[in-house]
């Protein structure tokens, strides 16, 4: 999965690179690929260029850009058809160049196809219930304008973690080193486990791991150190989850959404917000669970006139 997303990112940049000349200099571009470059060809060159740029942006921005990857495959097919038509008609001023372009497109189609298939595959374990589910490990860092002591104290109370860690429902401290964790699984269910602190060096490091009988075996640590130049505190968080086989494993695989690394980075941004300004920052759009335009919530009674896009 991660590799497929990486490849998608590469294809995104590639798309940008491909798209620009077709849009910016359609005349030169059509000549370069060996077709006549009349107005009709240039129009197509422009259309194809815009398509590449849009697909590029989609591949770069979406967390799991399945649709955009497939849009590239569809685009490749369109290119092959266009070039093929050019080759078989009188349009090919330089047939060898057009043939080369055709071969290049055919090659990239294979890569696009491979990536789309890989992206379309459900995240590991989500479909096959009995298959071993992939373990997940994520390391993320952030700098916080607070002292190591403050950061350590806040984190040390595990009951604070659900305030910024999206996948957690609640954590209850049950003893000196023991705690009970509940995480949000799909369809309103939860998975649970008990955990114990296995290392606790004040203001430097806390490490924990789940105990026997956990729905999901997991461990984590936070390493805390002063940032250079007295500019606060650097933390490095390291989380690993080993989902078991079976339906619980499949649910756990979805705990962190499609891109665990991005979600945990967002968790750390929220942690920083709580430490630095006392609450999690929301905008009119992010205040809601679902995507929402940048405008106030629809609940209040008074209506106002606003210019909007």
């Amino acid at each position: 999965m991660a590799k497929a997303v990486q490849l998608a990112r590469f294809l995104g940049w590639f798309s940008f690179g491909l798209g620009l000349p077709g849009v910016a200099a359609p005349k030169q571009f059509t000549q370069f690929i060996g077709v006549k470059g009349d107005l009709e060809d240039r129009k197509w060159s422009y259309v194809v260029g815009v398509r590449e740029i849009i697909a590029g942006a989609g591949l770069l921005i979406q967390p799991r850009p399945v649709i955009w990857a497939w849009s590239r495959v569809a685009g490749d097919v369109m290119d092959i058809a266009l070039l093929g038509r050019a080759l078989s008609s009188k349009k090919a001023k330089k047939p060898d160049r057009t043939a080369m372009a055709l071969a290049a497109v055919a090659g990239i189609t294979l890569v696009d196809l491979y990536d789309s298939l890989a992206l379309s595959r459900k995240p590991a374990g989500a479909s096959k219930k009995n298959k071993e589910v992939e373990a997940m490990q994520v390391k993320k860092a952030i700098t916080i304008s607070r002292s190591p002591e403050e950061v350590y104290q806040f984190w040390h109370n595990f009951e604070n973690l659900p305030r910024f860690m999206q996948h957690l429902h609640s954590v209850q401290v049950t003893g000196d080193k023991k705690s009970h964790w509940k995480a949000k699984a799909p369809a309103g269910t939860t998975v649970e486990w008990d955990a114990e602190i296995i290392m606790d060096t004040p203001n430097e490091r806390i490490a924990w791991r789940s105990l026997e009988g956990a729905d999901v075996e997991n461990s984590g640590s936070v390493t805390i150190k002063p940032a250079p130049g007295g500019m606060g505190t650097e933390i490095l968080v390291d989380l690993s989850y080993k989902p078991p086989a079976g339906p619980i494993g499949a649910a756990v695989a979805k705990l962190f959404g499609e891109e665990p690394s991005q979600q945990i980075q967002q968790d750390l941004r929220r942690f920083k917000q709580i430490m630095e300004i006392g609450e999690v920052v929301v905008s009119d759009a992010t205040f809601h669970e679902r995507p929402h335009p940048a405008r106030p919530p629809e609940t209040t009674a008074n209506k106002e006139t606003k210019a909007k896009k």
């Binding site: 940008f16 620009l20 849009v23 910016a24 200099a25 359609p26 005349k27 030169q28 240039r42 422009y46 740029i53 942006a57 770069l60 921005i61 700098t143 304008s145 500019m231 606060g232 991005q262 980075q265 967002q266 941004r269 920083k272 917000q273 630095e276 300004i277 006392g278 609450e279 920052v281 929301v282 905008s283 009119d284 759009a285 992010t286 205040f287 995507p291 929402h292 335009p293 940048a294 405008r295 106030p296 919530p297 629809e298 609940t299 209040t300 009674a301 008074n302 209506k303 106002e304 006139t305 606003k306 210019a307 909007k308 896009k309």
Partner: protein, 383 residues
């Protein structure tokens, strides 16, 4: 409600969502050149129904429980970047790079590596905040951004503290102006006008404004005191060389941005762009500034860029030791000192205003401003 489609609609009142929020009843707002990039569809992650607008002022009508510096009834100008005041960027007064104010930081980081601050009414990638082209707006971090302005001074004199006055000033300050310096400013829109005026405030000896609209060039000459070049009539670099003893200007300011109109001089590539009326991130002004600037000079980029450019003459930048300075303006840093300048009478920012309209006429205002009709310079909208 899509590209080039702005509507006025009834929406619910904003609410306090965080303890440091204020709700402001807007008395004046404007359309900024940056809104045109959204309007024309160049900034990704806009959604149907987003409220635009990031340059505004008004009266505080409601406060969150933790706001200490403001009272209900205060008259305030609100800076366009949203900044928390606590993070390491804010502590260094780099407010437009606030690390906490963009709740959609992950989207911006995917596109740009790291995320800048959130901005009012400026796409979801920049936070998904409702903008100020409205009757009421929610203002987060009310103790950090909004600045109180005295009663009795008209809106149009202080409104532009919200964005374009600090933006022009920041662009000029980034030029590191020394006595005797010649500064060239590409674009004589409202931002260009303030860049010209600010370059003089900061001690430039000569300022040269570049545009193609004669009324904007006239404005630059008569109201901001610039010499001017119409880039459709002459070659810009040659003319700048002639005007500066062959050295080129000491500093060049880009007050145009990603929608630069192609003057068709950097070879066939740009001519082809012009022929198809290309509208993507176009580095036309950047290239021209790089080629024109004197050796060891400074390029100050105020114009907004969203994504990617090509054919960027990095060889000229490197070999001729040019400095590039840029950024969304850290407006919070400049509001107090520039308010003082206004109160001292050093400058009257009202000189850029060309039209007053009601908020209901916003769609027409966008049309006029984007097409440069009716000698539109800066349009003030009144809710």
């Amino acid at each position: 409600m899509g590209k080039k489609d702005v509507k006025v609609e009834e929406v619910p009142d904003p609410k306090i969502l965080m303890r440091q929020d204020a709700i402001v009843r807007i008395t004046s707002t404007t359309i900024c050149g940056s809104d045109l990039h959204l309007y024309d569809g160049f900034i990704p992650t806009m959604e149907k129904g987003d409220i635009l607008g990031h340059e505004f002022m008004g009266e505080v009508v409601e406060l969150g429980s933790e706001v200490k510096n403001l009272k209900v009834g205060d008259r305030v100008v609100v800076p366009f970047p949203i900044a928390c005041g606590r993070c390491s960027m804010c502590q260094r007064t780099l407010f437009s790079l606030c690390e906490n104010s963009n709740p959609n930081a992950h989207i911006a980081a995917a596109l740009m590596g790291h995320s800048p601050a959130g901005i009012f009414g400026y796409s979801h990638m920049m936070g998904g905040y409702a903008g100020g082209q409205s009757q009421y707006v929610r203002v987060p971090f009310a103790d950090v951004g909004p600045i109180k302005v005295p009663d009795g001074i008209p809106d149009e004199k202080v409104l532009f503290l919200s964005d374009i006055f600090p933006t022009g000033y920041y662009a000029a300050e980034n030029c590191n102006i020394k006595p005797g310096d010649v500064v060239a400013v590409w674009g004589c829109g409202p931002v260009g006008q303030f860049a010209i005026a600010s370059a003089y405030l900061l001690g430039a000896e000569r300022v040269i404004g570049i545009d193609r609209f004669e009324y904007r060039l006239r404005w630059a000459r008569e109201k901001a005191g610039a010499e001017t070049i119409n880039y459709e009539e002459v070659d810009v670099k040659e003319t700048l060389d002639e005007m500066t003893g062959g050295r080129g200007p000491d500093a060049c300011i880009d007050a145009v941005g990603l929608e630069a109109h192609a003057p068709g001089f950097v070879g066939a590539y740009d001519r082809a762009k012009q022929a198809v009326k290309l509208e993507t991130d176009r580095p036309i002004v950047l290239r021209e500034m790089i080629m024109s600037c004197r050796n060891g000079g400074t390029l100050s980029i105020a114009g907004v860029y969203g994504g990617f450019i090509d054919k960027f003459p990095i060889g000229a930048v490197m070999n001729r030791a040019l400095t590039i300075k840029t950024g969304q303006t850290p407006v919070q840093r400049y509001m107090q000192p520039l308010l003082q300048r206004i109160l001292n009478g050093d400058i009257d920012p009202g000189f850029v205003v060309s039209h007053h309209m009601s908020l209901d006429e916003a769609p027409r205002g966008y049309e006029m401003f984007v097409n440069k009709e009716n000698e539109a310079m800066k349009i003030i909208l009144k809710p």
